[in-house]
């Protein structure tokens, strides 16, 4: 049934369509028979029912046929699944970490990014894990998903046949920012990829950039930069301002200073701004330099 011409994605689609047709035929068959009987054997047309307690051959037929059918369906589901799980040996290996509520991609050369850039027609294997709770890496365009589990390595692979940009969703519920935990896969030609890859790597290591960090670390998923309220308080103009917080359930006023920002990043549950839920995950992945860069940036955000 499946020649070599099918890509894993194509095969997944063929199986889906094939199963859809089987299920539709069964559904229509059952419904039409039912409606036909209701009309044909209405009490007006058929005032006296014929008592038929059962029919053994019929019971055998409609036990055996569905059994054969579902075993066939199981088999093709398994065949399609295997192609979606067998990673070609030459696949580009990328580590992916899910964290409330961003994805981080790390290339073999150490390059890190929040969106994934890969070459077209090249197998890519994503080695998944999570830094906090369960997440699930889902790319509808490639028909695949796999959970990112803390303390465990899982994987999924794909090969994009066309250049373009594809959506990545988190499909395992992970808290307030779940529906905002989006990313993109940008599929480019091998040449463009190689140039980008070499260029990004060759760049000298530069000082961390606070403005970029608040986006890449996922801060802006919950904290706006323009004063509007999303999930947490806005970051606009907070530095040096007084704010009302709850510390171990006790209210107190504090001034937002360097110490407070550092504490909020590393131990967000300590002092929670009043009126907001205590749900922020600790950002322990940030280095001391990165935290300083964020503090410097917040000072300028008036």
């Amino acid at each position: 049934m499946f020649g070599r011409s099918y890509t894993p994605i194509g095969m997944s689609d063929v199986i889906f369509l094939g199963f859809l047709v089987i299920c539709l035929v069964l559904l229509v068959g059952i419904t039409v028979t039912m409606v036909y009987f209701i009309i044909r054997y209405s009490r007006k047309r058929h005032p006296q029912a014929e008592q038929i307690p059962g029919n053994i051959p019929l019971e055998i037929i409609w036990t055996v046929l569905p059994t054969v059918l579902v075993l066939g369906m199981f088999y093709y589901g398994w065949v399609g699944f295997k192609t979606l799980r067998q990673v070609p040996g030459d696949a580009l290996q990328i580590s992916v970490t899910g964290r409330m509520w961003t994805w981080t991609f790390e290339y073999p050369n150490g390059l890190k990014a929040n969106t994934l850039k890969v070459p077209v027609k090249k197998a890519v294997n994503l080695n998944l894990t999570s830094a906090d709770v369960l997440h699930s890496f889902f790319v509808p365009a490639f028909r695949i998903k796999e959970d990112a589990v803390p303390g465990m390595k899982t994987y999924l692979w794909f090969q994009a046949e066309r250049e373009g940009t594809y959506d990545v969703f988190c499909s395992e519920y992970c808290g307030t920012g779940h529906s905002g935990m989006l990313s993109k896969i940008e599929v480019v030609s091998q040449d463009v990829f190689d140039q980008w890859y070499a260029g990004e790597t060759a760049k000298p290591v530069k000082a961390p950039d606070g403005a970029a960090l608040v986006v890449s670390a996922g801060c802006t998923g919950c904290h706006s930069l323009d004063g509007s309220r999303i999930v947490g308080p806005s970051l606009k103009g907070i530095f040096g301002e007084k704010t009302h917080v709850l510390t171990d359930g006790v209210e107190r006023d504090i001034v937002v200073d360097e110490d407070y920002i550092r504490r909020s990043l590393l131990e967000p549950g300590k002092d929670v701004v009043e009126g907001y839920p205590a749900i922020m995950p600790a950002q322990t992945q940030l280095s001391a330099e990165e935290i300083d860069a964020i503090i410097d940036y917040l000072k300028t955000l008036k």
């Binding site: 997944s12 199986i15 889906f16 199963f19 859809l20 299920c23 069964l26 559904l27 059952i30 419904t31 039912m34 009987f37 209701i38 054997y41 209405s42 005032p47 006296q48 029912a49 014929e50 008592q51 038929i52 059962g54 029919n55 019971e59 409609w62 036990t63 059994t67 579902v70 369906m73 199981f74 093709y76 589901g77 398994w78 399609g80 699944f81 192609t83 979606l84 709770v133 369960l134 889902f138 509808p140 028909r143 695949i144 998903k145 959970d147 589990v149 303390g151 465990m152 959506d167 969703f169 988190c170 499909s171 519920y173 808290g175 307030t176 920012g177 529906s179 905002g180 999930v231 749900i279």
Partner: protein, 538 residues
């Protein structure tokens, strides 16, 4: 001359006042207590569903915040599943009808039965208290997946404890029914002369007794882990979050059959009455109930095909999942077979039964698709799943519940309802349900994940249609309830056997007397003996 009424007092007039209800040992009154409580819970769950759909009418924040929305879907799930769909048919119609259908005076343990109701109410109060106390309503989803459920600051422990208490109510009800069926069948009622609703309750009872303790233990472990940091499920302490999923689904998948088996049983009662025909394949249906109960234990990990579990485990559970479809298919074929050469009169319960077969088939067949591993990788965790289980839970269990309500209403309350309005409500419900849930299959197929507060603009059309569907569905529910409430107040008195049923509950007056049967019935044939002098196969 004043006529002397020799008929025994009905159970409704056997006692007055609140105490005569909340401390009753009568299985019929306990059934009604459940019905009243569950109607309240169903309406609260429905209101949450309505608000969720309203939020999703447009992308971005619409009426509530993300945190509130997450609590909405958690509570909608907890209320609908633990307080309505799981206990629903057994607690209400099982309690009321089981003793009547097998010719018994009550269940085997009437006091335990009352205790079950009190545990149910206690569990429900704890779940509702979790909304109003502590640091905000739970936001984990009804599955309480670790490690999120271990670290969220919301009031998870109390809600989980509520579900723990509800579990005991379920276990005790199951135990009671299994014992009742073994010990209290009327003389002459052999196993194969027993109606098929009791058969379904019997299979369900065993699942309740054997599977629910696992949920109880698992939920207790979540609470202990939150309080004491046991480190069973928390990877930071060497625990395994996938272990939690296994333990949760070892109960919660069999629970799906606790939800659907009694529904199938009720449908099996309704069809022969309206077709004036004995059930087709009595034994096939009875054994299918048992087969579903057994196989249902072995398929739990199909909820975990993308969890990171080994590929071998995925293959085995996919195979077993396909097998559990077979007994369900056998039931559907036998129901349709019962219509063949019948003499069919359409009534409201029959319409619900037919809608059940169609909607359950949609739910079952889409379930079959998800059982295929390659398709599962695509649709798992998307709206496809949400559509699938609402077809099974609403189109299946809730439609069977509403059908049963219309079927046994005259018996339970001694009043008739307006059939035209009831049929109209059925049509509105049917249209509303499909408008609400069908677009979800397409949304999921296109890739919209579930439990999403916000979505990409390309998903809006499907979401708008679905939201409009929720309004239609709710109108149907309100019309149906309004019609039944009117019947309670003003309906004309019901005959003992208004539909022409052949099972024992139709041989007593409507509403039944306190002790059900003045003379214990002696059973000489099968349960669906229609036609003159026809021999029932037994």
């Amino acid at each position: 001359m004043s006529s002397v009424n020799t008929a025994p007092k009905s159970y409704l007039s056997a006692g007055q006042g609140l105490r005569s209800w909340i401390f009753t040992l009568d299985h019929k009154r306990i059934g009604l207590l459940y019905l009243m409580a569950m109607s309240t819970f169903f309406l609260s769950g429905m209101t949450l569903g309505f608000l969720m759909r309203l939020e999703l009418i447009a992308p971005g924040p619409t009426i509530v915040s993300a945190q509130t929305y997450n609590s909405f879907f958690t509570l909608h799930g907890v209320i609908m599943i633990f307080l309505f769909v799981i206990p629903g048919l057994p607690a209400v119609f099982g309690n009321f009808m089981l003793p009547l259908m097998i010719g018994a005076k009550d269940v085997f343990f009437p006091r335990l039965n009352l205790l079950s109701w009190w545990l149910f109410i206690t569990g429900a109060c704890l779940a509702f208290a979790s909304l109003l106390t502590g640091s905000g309503p739970p936001d984990t989803g009804w599955t309480f997946y670790a490690p999120y459920s271990l670290r969220t600051g919301t009031n998870v422990s109390l809600a989980v404890f509520g579900a723990f208490v509800l579990g005991f109510s379920s276990i005790l009800t199951g135990l009671n029914f299994v014992t009742t069926i073994h010990r209290m069948r009327a003389p002459g009622m052999t196993w194969f002369r027993m109606p098929l609703f009791p058969w379904a309750l019997y299979a369900t009872g065993w699942v309740q007794v054997l599977a629910t303790p696992i949920l109880g233990i698992t939920l207790l472990l979540v609470i202990l882990e939150r309080w004491l940091g046991l480190g069973l499920f928390n990877p930071e302490m060497g625990g395994d979050p996938i272990l939690y999923q296994h333990l949760f689904w070892i109960y919660s998948h069999p629970a799906v059959y606790i939800m659907i088996l009694p529904a199938m049983g009720a449908i099996t009662e309704i069809i022969p009455v309206y077709a004036r025909k004995t059930i087709f394949g009595y034994k096939a249906i009875a054994f299918s109930s048992v087969a579903i109960a057994l196989l249902g234990y072995l398929v739990w990990a199909h909820h975990m095909f993308t969890s990171g579990m080994s590929d071998t485990a995925r293959m085995i559970f996919s195979l077993l999942t396909f097998l559990v479809a077979i007994p369900s298919a056998i039931k559907v074929f036998n129901w349709v077979g019962t219509l063949y050469k019948g003499s069919i009169q359409i009534g409201t319960p029959f319409l619900y039964a037919m809608a059940f077969i169609f909607l359950f088939s949609v739910g079952g067949l889409t379930g079959l698709m998800q059982g295929a591993l390659s398709i599962n990788l695509r649709v798992h965790g998307t709206y496809f799943i949400v559509g699938h289980f609402h077809y099974v839970m609403f189109g299946g269990t809730a439609f069977a519940f509403f059908g049963s309500l219309h079927y046994w209403f005259p018996k339970m309350f001694g009043r008739m309802y307006n059939a035209k309005v009831a049929n109209m409500a059925w049509a509105i419900l049917f249209i509303g349900l499909n408008t609400l849930y069908f677009p979800m299959f397409i949304l999921g197929w296109e890739g919209m994940p579930r439990r999403y507060y916000d979505y990409l603009p390309e998903f809006q059309t499907g979401n708008v249609i679905s939201t409009v569907g929720s309004w239609i569905l709710i109108s149907g529910v309100l019309l149906m309830l309004g019609n039944l409430l009117m019947a309670l107040l003003k309906g004309r008195h019901a005959e003992p056997n208004p539909w022409g049923g052949t099972t024992l509950e139709w041989t007593v007056s409507s509403p039944p007397p306190l002790e059900n049967f003045e003379v214990t019935p002696v059973v000489t044939g099968g349960p669906y003996a229609y036609g003159r002098g026809d021999k029932q196969d037994d």
